[in-house]
């Protein structure tokens, strides 16, 4: 088990898909709208070594009520500029597309947090600040201090993608099960 602390550096390059890690330190939430805003207006935090968390939390005043991961694949086409700017880790659920796997190569990793585990995540987090609050609670960029978040390396910096391995096996099994050709699934 590797214990990661932000800001992250080359230590993320040693990780392999399927490894379990913990992550502590400052992380920044961002969903669809925040990505679009950042592409337009710039990244409001220092992206060097940063970890971006795909999450739209429930916040009440200055209290982070619950804060589990959202579906990362929605950000597939919105992620490249963050990696180019020096972001070293994406945290989310469900994995990301092949374009992101390539963008991460040699630079950063994708860390999976168990979907729906919003109370567990919030129990290991405290709220530090916010950018783009006008986007609303779910879409704003929240600054969070994390304490040993339990994560699985979903995509490593060498093209290793646990989600894709699982998907490939599932596809093969599906066609065996239903005696169909490989190209019949949309």
């Amino acid at each position: 088990m590797t214990d990661l602390v932000t800001p992250l550096g080359d230590e993320v390059l040693a990780l392999r898909a399927g490894d379990t890690v913990t992550l502590s330190g400052t992380i920044y939430t961002a969903r669809d709208e925040a990505h679009l805003r950042m592409m337009e207006e710039g990244i409001p935090f220092d992206p060097a070594g940063a970890a971006v968390y795909h999450c739209g939390p429930v916040v009440q005043g200055d209290r982070l009520v619950v804060a589990g991961p959202t579906t990362s694949a929605r950000m597939n086409t919105l992620t490249g500029f963050l990696i180019d700017a020096g972001v070293r880790a994406l945290i989310g659920k469900g994995g990301m597309g092949p374009e992101v796997v390539e963008q991460l190569r040699g630079r950063a990793v994708y860390l999976a947090l168990t979907g729906g585990c919003a109370a567990l995540a919030a129990a290991r987090m405290s709220l530090k600040g916010v950018y783009f609050e006008d986007l609303g609670m779910a879409e704003a960029v929240w600054v969070i201090e994390a304490d040993r978040l339990p994560l699985t390396v979903g995509i490593d910096a060498h093209g290793g993608d646990l989600f894709e391995v699982v998907r490939g096996k599932a596809k093969t099994q599906f066609h065996q099960q239903f005696n169909s050709k490989q190209d019949t699934v949309s």
């Binding site: 379990t20 739209g56 168990t114």
Partner: protein
């Protein structure tokens, strides 16, 4: 004309019941869902999947301990009312439920998720035109059932207008839905399957199927569930024995030339609660 004295207090009582039902549903999973999760967790052989289950079970305990929602996607409220013969079908019912949703959003609190579909402007209180969805059925008692529905699983739900000769293809359609969904709907999932009716009715049946107890399945449901689990997608798409915790099927008659099939995907946090309205 006779005036029912209960009419003036009904919206308030319904709002209270709706708020209570949402609080219960958002914070604590129903026993049948817990039973299905616990059983799957102990049967799981994949090491990463076992850790995912451990996180899920710890999260459920923490939500209860901290009295906070299980998931930050507190969903959009889907509401089912049963109406006894002495309660008139009136706009007061809708206003009571909407008020309950507004209160629950502020007090639990819930994430405001309801937006305009095109401008994406958020209403701030989880109500909007046609939202919450309120379904009314006759019953013995006045009850409100809430089924808060998150987007991750809703977004991978599917409907297919199969040919009448394709009853055998339903299993393939269900498994294909799971294959396409992968890790996105937060597996292990529960599948509500609506078979028959019309295009819209199949989808409504699929959602209603999610209200059925998930800790038992009939032979057909088990067969669909086994087909989904054979894919090995596992909790969160990271691989494992358990992709579907349960499959529940509801059927309706349909046109002799049709076979509508809808699959409503539900994440492991199958949140629902029923409260009787005090009146």
């Amino acid at each position: 004309m006779m005036v029912n004295p209960a009419d003036s207090t009904l919206p308030g009582a319904l709002a209270d019941a709706t708020e209570r039902a949402l609080r219960e549903a958002e914070i604590r999973l129903p026993q049948d869902v817990l039973a299905a999760l616990t059983r799957a967790a102990s049967a799981e052989r994949n090491e990463i999947a076992r850790q995912e289950f451990a996180n899920i079970l710890e999260n459920i305990a923490l939500a209860e301990e901290r009295q906070v929602p299980i998931c930050q996607d507190t969903g959009v409220p889907v509401i089912y009312l049963t109406l006894p013969p002495d309660v008139p079908f009136s706009p007061a019912l809708f206003e009571g439920v909407r008020e309950g949703v507004r209160r629950a959003t502020a007090t639990i609190p819930l994430r405001p998720n309801v937006v305009d579909p095109l401008t994406r402007e958020n209403t701030g209180d989880n109500t909007g035109p046609g939202m919450p969805a309120i379904h009314i059925m006759p019953g013995d008692r006045l009850t409100v059932t809430v089924l808060p529905k998150g987007a991750g699983s809703e977004n991978v739900s599917r409907i297919g207008m199969l040919l009448p000769s394709q009853a055998g293809e339903i299993k393939r359609f269900v498994a294909e839905t799971i294959l396409i969904a992968g890790g996105r709907p937060c597996p292990p999932v529960i599948l509500g399957v609506g078979i028959g009716g019309t295009f819209d009715m199949a989808a409504a049946l699929a959602k209603e199927a999610l209200l059925l107890p998930v800790d038992t399945m009939d032979d057909y449901e088990q067969e669909l569930c086994d087909a989904a689990n054979a894919l090995g997608i596992g909790p969160m798409g990271l691989g494992g024995d358990t992709t579907a915790l349960s499959v529940k099927v509801k059927r309706a008659g349909c046109h002799t030339a049709s076979l509508p099939v809808a699959v409503n995907v539900q994440c492991w946090a199958c949140r629902r609660a029923t409260v009787e309205v005090e009146r």
